[in-house]
């Protein structure tokens, strides 16, 4: 079982919460669209400047170990990561598709800070191969409103199987 904190009763009134839930669904859908269509140059804009983006095996997460498969502690590092995926990495061509579901708003702190989570399944298709599962897992997010848009202050992608197939080339 996951050792996640129990959700506190959200403070936002019901209609506002429904609106927020919808906005987060939209954010996740856009996030998936940008990555699945390889518009990597747009990817850093999902984050505020001072941010944390990590892709972490569930094993490390549960054991409290700090190493991540992808660890970016600034928007600059996220830019470096996507530049590397595009410019400096030698990898077989592939298509990824994200399925993000089960969005839950865990906590709303005032108007500005939201804690949320969502499940994620990513399938991968490569030349001469049928579609395979790349990973399943969940996102743990801290979302803030900046310039009228929801952006990630923190996004952790915690993946279930420590063992990944060959490689993880792009952000997920």
């Amino acid at each position: 079982m996951l050792a996640e904190e129990q959700p506190r009763a959200p403070v936002a009134p019901k209609a506002a919460l429904r609106e927020l839930h919808f906005e987060i669904e939209q954010l996740n859908s856009e996030y998936a669209r940008v990555l699945d269509s390889e518009r990597y140059e747009q990817f850093p804009d999902f984050f505020v400047d001072d941010c944390l983006y990590r892709v972490v095996p569930r094993e490390n997460h549960l054991l409290g170990l700090p190493i991540a498969a992808i660890h970016c502690e600034s928007k600059g590092m996220i830019k470096d990561r996507v530049n590397a995926a595009r410019e400096s990495t030698m990898a077989e061509p592939r298509t990824l598709r994200h399925f993000i579901s089960n969005v839950r708003v865990l906590e709303v702190i005032g108007e500005e800070a939201i804690r949320a989570e969502a499940n994620v399944l990513i399938v991968q298709t490569m030349i001469n191969r049928m579609t395979d599962i790349l990973l399943s897992g969940f996102y743990l997010d801290r979302i803030v409103r900046s310039d009228g848009c929801l952006r990630f202050k923190e996004r952790l992608c915690i993946y279930d199987s420590l063992l990944l197939p060959t490689s993880l080339v792009a952000p997920v």
């Binding site: 095996p57 400096s88 077989e92 060959t166």
Partner: protein, 416 residues
């Protein structure tokens, strides 16, 4: 002692270690013989770091070749390694990746082992109401889980199925022991985390990759662009006497145009990091080497690239695949800043590594080619045909040295 197999039809090319026949990467009989002679033979395989089992009765699972083992610390504080294989019906009885347990109970018939792998209880051993049960002559102590020989040095645990294995220090030889002790010099390791990936290629392709500095200087745009490993830097390839272990040693350079970088199609003068903290090193080890990648035969790569340290254990999964299990570590006395550098620099490594993705991908492609052209030979003549140490990177001497040893251990005869 030769096991008669179809291997007798195989002969190694006359050029010796300067050629590698592609069938070594796909033949099931070759794989079986490797399991027998290499992974179960008189060699020390890496299994775990002591920091993973700090307390009495802690345990962690590992593999040697494809065989599962359990690494434990018993009640006396000693380290034990035994096969994860019930002496009764062969069940892989330890089902958790790690934990703390005084007893291991096989789920099938509840044969029970202690933390040293000794069999301590069998249900209905004396039967029920005078009927059934084990023969009175049956001795529990003769039916424990198969014990392995264990050696630990400065927090690193090795094990061997073959009790005739030489002492670890002799097995490594003085040069390789020197590089090992450079990293594990007595500071207490601390586990920082795990990554694992299954790569669809034969384990030898991975091992060769870390003995081959030639590829690193052309394939890895990230390494060569940011000067982390490039052939214009003062470097060396060193082997032990047998050729099975090796170390690649290098020093950082600048992102500048020179005779070497001009020839490197993959050198990118234009690439700049938005957040250079990603690769900012802190001096940590004596001497001026900033990279030492050590291959310890048969199953581990010891990684020191700047401040990112990891044991990369190879677990064979048949001739066509292996798992690469990365254990990242630092040391108990690391400052918070050094610890943070290790976490940042781990971005270069693992299944999503800015450098290691290139390798994982290329290794998969190597297998794809090798397994469908089994009767072709790889040509290893960069730096001539020598298997001696070099003071440069433009060589495949480390790979040839490995195959010189491999041919001998596997008992292959040369053609001609």
């Amino acid at each position: 002692m030769d096991t008669p197999t179809r291997l007798h039809g195989r002969t190694w090319p006359v050029e010796g270690a300067a050629r590698v026949p592609s069938w070594v990467y796909s033949d099931q009989d070759v794989y079986n013989r490797e399991q027998e002679r290499i992974f179960s033979g008189p060699n020390w395989s890496y299994v775990a770091l002591e920091a993973e089992i700090p307390n009495p009765y802690d345990f962690v699972r590992a593999n040697i070749g494809d065989k599962p083992v359990v690494v434990t610390r018993d009640g006396n504080g000693s380290v034990n390694v035994f096969a994860n294989h019930c002496a009764h019906r062969g069940v892989v009885f330890c089902r958790h990746a790690r934990g703390n347990a005084k007893r291991f109970i096989c789920p099938y018939h509840q044969w029970t082992y202690d933390s040293t792998g000794m069999l301590v209880a069998i249900p209905f051993r004396r039967g029920y109401k005078g009927k059934g049960g084990m023969d009175p002559e049956f001795k529990l102590q003769e039916h424990g889980a198969e014990a392995l020989k264990v050696a630990a040095r400065n927090g690193v645990i090795f094990a061997s199925f073959d009790f005739a294995v030489p002492p670890l220090e002799d097995f490594l030889g003085p040069k390789m022991l020197g590089y090992f002790d450079r990293l594990f010099e007595g500071r207490e390791p601390e586990i920082l985390g795990y990554m694992r990936q299954r790569i669809p290629c034969n384990w030898k392709f991975m091992f060769e990759n870390i003995k081959d500095p030639y590829h690193a200087s052309v394939l890895h745009v990230f390494l060569i662009t940011f000067g982390l490993f490039r052939l214009d830097q003062r470097s060396a390839v060193e082997m032990d006497e047998t050729g099975r272990h090796a170390a690649l040693i290098s020093r950082r350079g600048e992102q500048i145009m020179n005779e070497a970088t001009l020839e490197l199609a993959n050198f990118r003068k234009d690439l700049k990091l938005n957040d250079p903290r990603l690769i900012e090193p802190a001096r940590e080890f004596p001497g001026d080497a900033t990279v030492v990648m050590q291959t310890i035969f048969p199953n581990v790569i010891v990684q020191q690239q700047s401040n990112t340290l990891a044991m990369r254990q190879m677990v064979t999964r048949g001739p066509h695949a292996f798992d690469l299990n990365w254990t990242f570590f630092g040391f108990k006395d690391d400052t918070p800043e050094l610890r943070q550098r290790r976490i940042r620099q781990a971005n270069l490594m693992g299944p999503a590594g800015l450098v290691s993705v290139d390798d994982s991908e290329v290794l998969a492609l190597s297998q794809e080619g090798a397994q469908v052209f089994p009767d072709t030979d790889a040509v290893l003549e960069m730096g001539g045909r020598s298997t001696a140490d070099t003071d440069h990177m433009v060589t495949e001497a480390g790979v040839r040295a490995f195959y010189k040893h491999y041919i001998e251990v596997m008992g292959f005869s040369h053609a001609g």
